[in-house]
Subunit: 324 residues, 2 copies
Amino acid sequence: MITVKELAKLCNCSVATVNRALNDRPDINNQTKERIKQVAKEHGYRPHFIARSLATGNTNIIGLIVLDIKNPFFEHIIDYLNQRLLERGYSLHLGIMDGSPESEYRVFEQLAYMKVDGIIHVPLNVGDAYKTYLKQLHIPLVHLCNWYDDEFPFVGVEESQIIAEAVQHIQQAGYTELIYVSPPLRYKGSRNLYTLEERLKGVQDSIGDMKLHVLDTKDYLQKSIELVSQSHERSCFLCSSDIFALDIMTQMRALDMTPPKDYGIIGFDNITFLKHISPRLTTIAYPVEELIDHALEELLLMIQGKQCISKHILKAHFIPGETI
Amino acid sequence: MITVKELAKLCNCSVATVNRALNDRPDINNQTKERIKQVAKEHGYRPHFIARSLATGNTNIIGLIVLDIKNPFFEHIIDYLNQRLLERGYSLHLGIMDGSPESEYRVFEQLAYMKVDGIIHVPLNVGDAYKTYLKQLHIPLVHLCNWYDDEFPFVGVEESQIIAEAVQHIQQAGYTELIYVSPPLRYKGSRNLYTLEERLKGVQDSIGDMKLHVLDTKDYLQKSIELVSQSHERSCFLCSSDIFALDIMTQMRALDMTPPKDYGIIGFDNITFLKHISPRLTTIAYPVEELIDHALEELLLMIQGKQCISKHILKAHFIPGETI
DNA sequence: TTGTAAGCGTTATCAA
DNA sequence: TTGATAACGCTTACAA
């Protein structure tokens, strides 16, 4: 691996001049610049990221913390953010959690150690210690999809409105009972469930005279069967993730019950795999690309030192299917 | 961010001693060590990865190049490798391609720039230029699932054997025509298709007196319908990925054709989502964890300077379903 | 337009 | 058991 020092020797000039040439700085003679670049290319010079970062104090790496790489919801986010970052000369470092809130701290330590320039994440922990922790990291942060505290920039979705829209569809389809399925709600108190609770509030506010059940336990599959088979109402599930909805549909199919004949069901996320599921699951899609665009814009501003703690609330979309 | 220099001042000692204390080196008085560690903790000292890497010459980062983050096949690999690496004090950096073979070079440049200690990847390009390129990177490499050249360590799967097993199942089920579906085969000459071609060979060797069709074009969906509806044989698809199999099943369902009544079908990869698909897709599973274990072991040996270019060939598993 | 030299925060080799 | 000090490869004042 050839270094600037060696290049300087080869070109009979100083390392400063080599640096000017390689980084297209203005204060350099055009001929010497071309000459140096030529020599650099011939010798396969590659800038040394580590040395450069140590000198400049920044890595041009952005961290994205992913709750669960197995959740297809993140596919699109990762792919799109990666593209946008490359365009802007940054690269992406994925912080992979194992699903537990404690692992969020482990991933933060890793990203802090790696000196990433900024982090986009879905805040999962809760409490003052968490806030203190996030602040002492001294890393620009943008919170995605799950509001935690107004001291951090946030990019998310207007939940109550899209929920109201979904509930309206459910009512119009003649259902008399709504079952809100969101097992993670059982972690109330120990995890940040802002978004899931917003959705629940949205349901409560718009439910009118329909009956409401909330399934927030681990055995939601079993419970959902009991509810539908024992109830004399026309029941419709509203699930906080397509994953839960698919689990229910699969389980119900084993009992020969399919939507919308025997029950209704709506998911969340519009994951790619739905195209293979019949009947087509009615779901709600997040504007992933817009979310990422805003989050990235916000983060880059912070990295440039422009402290603009803002809040972007975008709109989700109702995706009609065949299950209500 | 407090540094070793500042810690040294606080402790009335030299940076060398601080370093000895923080890294648990033997040549240091136990009391001073504890004292320094205490002060470091009080001041929230975090080692500076960048500076350390510059000094030691290694990053303790391993790169994994992923063809397509959207392909669920990689979920398991990423998750498992990440776990194993953490246990060993390494961290994982994902290199994300956009599906094109050219982007493989872009990702390699990125990982080389980041000075990762080693890379696990599925070699996708082909030709002597590729080989020259990989060698001049001077980064330990392990090739996964797709053999390219004996000069690189390889961890993969015995393809012909598992294919023979699948073909036998197909024959026993009474099919008289086998359709091997592997659209990427159309890139023959410009991409490394070793594994896909091994599978094809496996099919040819074990097919006996069944008819054989190979679908290696982009319009394989259309072609597959034509084949099944025009043929007077009992046709069974063998797809080089569950994704292709699901695409075919979904398309067929629209024409009211389902396996195993109207045709047979077998996939590859045993992706998680199959549990939601009915009838259950018969498929073939790679021993992902074993693959990664071997690949990692091999890579770490190379990083330690032990040049052991070896070849590990593992066994895949036939996963019976309801589609043949 | 060019060169000199002082960092950046560690590690590691000596010598004490 | 400790301390000085020279790397590591690059950037960036400042001086020429």
